[in-house]
Symmetry: D2
Subunit: 283 residues, 4 copies
């Protein structure tokens, strides 16, 4: 627990880097990496992510937080979070029937590639129970249909509330309501397929094939009230041609989806993603 | 002139490959490459591109064409074109003010990478006259505004008609009317930027930046009555992040555009692109 | 069992496509896809892969084979194989301790993405027994060291001989001897990391990092007597920068390795890969 | 001249970020971007690149430099450079007969994409004189053969010495001697093709084709006494298959080379590249 991460943002003005650097040096911390970004050259918003090494951090983190708030944060009217790098975030994964994203996350977690504590998997279908439980992770089946949506969301909120730091929608095909978003108290990351140009509505892979697209892709983003329109964390594409039929496109899309989602989740777990309006800064 | 290319399409049924192969063997031709594709396993459309070597082709091409029409094409109710590989297509390039696409095409043509005869560059602005003429290519300035569109299109059609086998829109920012499309008598290839998701209307790069996209791309396609919706020939993307401002995105987009356009033009010049509905088959 | 694949190669000369097309049409087969390639324009080697649909193929395959041999193959001095598309190949996977490649293959097999019958996994370490067996696949532990190599290879050959159509080395870290290659009677596909430029010997990721490489990759190839020098089937790379330490590079390399290996195996299973000298033609 | 860039490196220890931040704030500068990197978590080397805005910088740069040296740099035993962002570097391009890299650099310079002052192009062949001079850039022909190498290098050194901040080898096919490297007094960036695996000696594209490689690439690096082994700045690859013959590979390689070289030069011009041993840190 000797590694900390300090994320801040505030209105840009001279002296911020200096103030944070001086504070951390004074606390006995050694800065390991520091990334910062300003959204404009004058009058922009300033973002900074600092990783530091400070012996005994676990014991002194709360005191450090208070001290930073009272001195630097207050002076610069700063929003900040201070986390311990080695304290894994608690994650819930929500999924419907498709297994490629959830299994990839669980497998990377087991290999030590994703430093998280998967506290539960929730699904509106029972299909993936055995697969999920073989990783030692609890699986909860909460049937959800158009008719019982409010009730199902209430049950899911009961499971999540207070228990999770992040919710990953790993091909969860139910609508997320504003009520749910407000109640869950943790950020949500979603993955969906992406095309150039976009194809709206059902059967996007079939439509993409009809247009003769040469690239199919995936986008991972934070969920906002507008489900598929939140700030983008990561995207990628794969090349296709006329020889791939629609099932081939779906299969190749699945490979891109799991790769993109795992990168987005990884960066979130490492506190690398700052949100600014509908944009992300990925340090 | 000893290399020929035979492109055909027709309703799929047994015996097509055999019939073409037998015809070409009988004519003394040696097949160099053959690609074929069927859009469905039964009842689809069959496409085939055959490159062959036939000594004396230039002298006998018309006779070969008649003979193929009377025998194979007639039997299978086939559409076909038979071209000589070494006879470069006549190409007109239309451009507005932006130079990256037109100069890349001219430069690749001069290096021998694009086997075409650029017979003219037409622009609604005079800016690129010197650059274009330094390649020894005629430059015609045809001012076009919202008010004189019909007149300008008529002037351009006078220049093009009968003189070109292909028109490349290399960042030509005027609307192409259905009248123009009908009158020009040659296919048109257009290039435009592409994003996942799509950003409609003016300032797409600024909008893409506001959404935090991580990839920007370009699409080259044939022009149909619906300007940005014709069959896609080629696409590609480049990775970006929050550190690139809008001019950076425009510059990186320009690099993708010229690469994608030159590949699409090259494939068209080599008779590699077959159109099927709104799809392309790129052999 | 109504789908067949015919792969041929022979010295190039006029009439091959025609002869094959005529033979298949005469047998009542409809050609679904046909790819061919000639290594040179005159005097080269000609390769062709034909997928066809022929009702009742399973019952008549041997008769078809004899008939093709006696007519077309004999006339053109042709090597050929005729397979049924729906008869999955029998595959053995050999692995040491690293799980990413073997689990990815098993998982894709279970999802239906790789049409093969994995008849056994052989390892010189016991570590992966539970993981492998959870897929319902037999796991055989054959300890192999420098001292017992001949004995270990003999045991492995006993397991493989007559039982497999393909052996996949999915991060198997023991040397493969020429004796083994001769005895196994099936092609072997291997995967290894790749860099530009190459880094020889132990610790290649550490060396790559010291040189500041910006790309790390993987190569899948057939195994010949020269272990890492056989014909390449597939390659890919991923972008890295100075912020990734050696374990990061290893992890990112693992992702490329499993993607590249699964594509190479898939193409082999679909009879898409023809070998010519030390080159492959991937149809 | 109001934008400055401060690049430093020194042994890592607590307080560096704070000291620099405090110095710049005290001088009235506002930090625009700041990137830093430490090569190890304890006892490593610390690198930092800071872009700042300081009204009147041109008039006060030398004073600022002295002041920084006397205070911060001295205390931390720091190497540093302080440049004005808007003062373009003076660049010489050396080339043999191949035009794709040099023309791409000149064209990007003219478009404003590469902020440099190309003061001369030197070639051991006269072929590119007209093309280069059409950009308004002086072209010097210095014939170089195995026999007159010392003399030719001396002539080139006379042209370069004191006149350039960077030399770009844009496909310059002569050997660079240690004498030349010592005498030139400016860094050199070179571009060469790259393959996985590497192919040594003459005709690498032909060799790559014989092995059936699926990717060909390019590497841009600083030149050290070991010509092709200096710290790598940038690399990229393009996908190929069996249908490309050797001239196709050369052409596709040329596209990658010019893209990779222009990115490497751009990053150098913006003072983004720090060298550490045989590695680069590209901020």
């Amino acid at each position: 627990g000797d590694h900390g991460r300090l994320l801040i943002h505030c209105a840009d003005r001279p002296g911020i880097v200096s103030a944070i650097g001086t504070f951390l040096a004074g606390a006995g911390a050694n800065i390991v990496t520091l990334d910062q970004f300003s959204t404009a050259e004058g009058g922009g918003t300033f973002f900074q992510r600092t990783e530091f090494h400070l012996p005994g951090l676990t014991a002194t983190r709360e005191e450090l937080e208070r001290s930073f708030a009272a001195t630097v944060a207050d002076e610069f009217d700063m929003q900040f979070t201070l986390t311990e790098a080695r304290k894994p975030k608690r994650v819930a994964i929500m999924v419907s029937k498709t297994d490629h994203c959830v299994l990839d996350l669980l497998w990377r977690n087991r290999r030590g590639e994703l430093d998280m504590n998967v506290v539960m998997v929730i699904s509106n279908h029972p299909d993936l129970a055995t697969d999920v439980r073989s990783f030692g992770v609890p699986f909860f089946h909460v049937p959800a249909t158009r008719d019982n949506r409010a009730e199902a969301e209430a049950r899911i909120l009961d499971l999540l509330r207070g228990n999770v730091d992040l919710v990953v929608l790993a091909r969860y095909m139910q609508i997320i309501t504003p009520t749910f978003l407000e109640g869950v108290g943790a950020p949500l990351i979603n993955i969906h397929h992406s095309f150039l140009p976009a194809f709206i509505g059902a059967g996007p892979y079939a439509k993409a094939r009809e247009r003769g697209v040469k690239l199919i892709g995936a986008t991972a983003h934070y969920v906002t009230a507008d489900l598929d329109e939140g700030p983008i964390i990561e995207q990628d594409v794969v090349r296709v041609d006329h020889r791939q039929d629609t099932p081939d496109l779906v299969r190749m899309g699945a490979d891109v989806e799991r790769a993109v989602l795992s990168r987005a989740v990884r960066w979130h777990l490492e506190d690398r993603v700052a949100v600014h309006g509908n944009t992300t800064i990925v340090f």
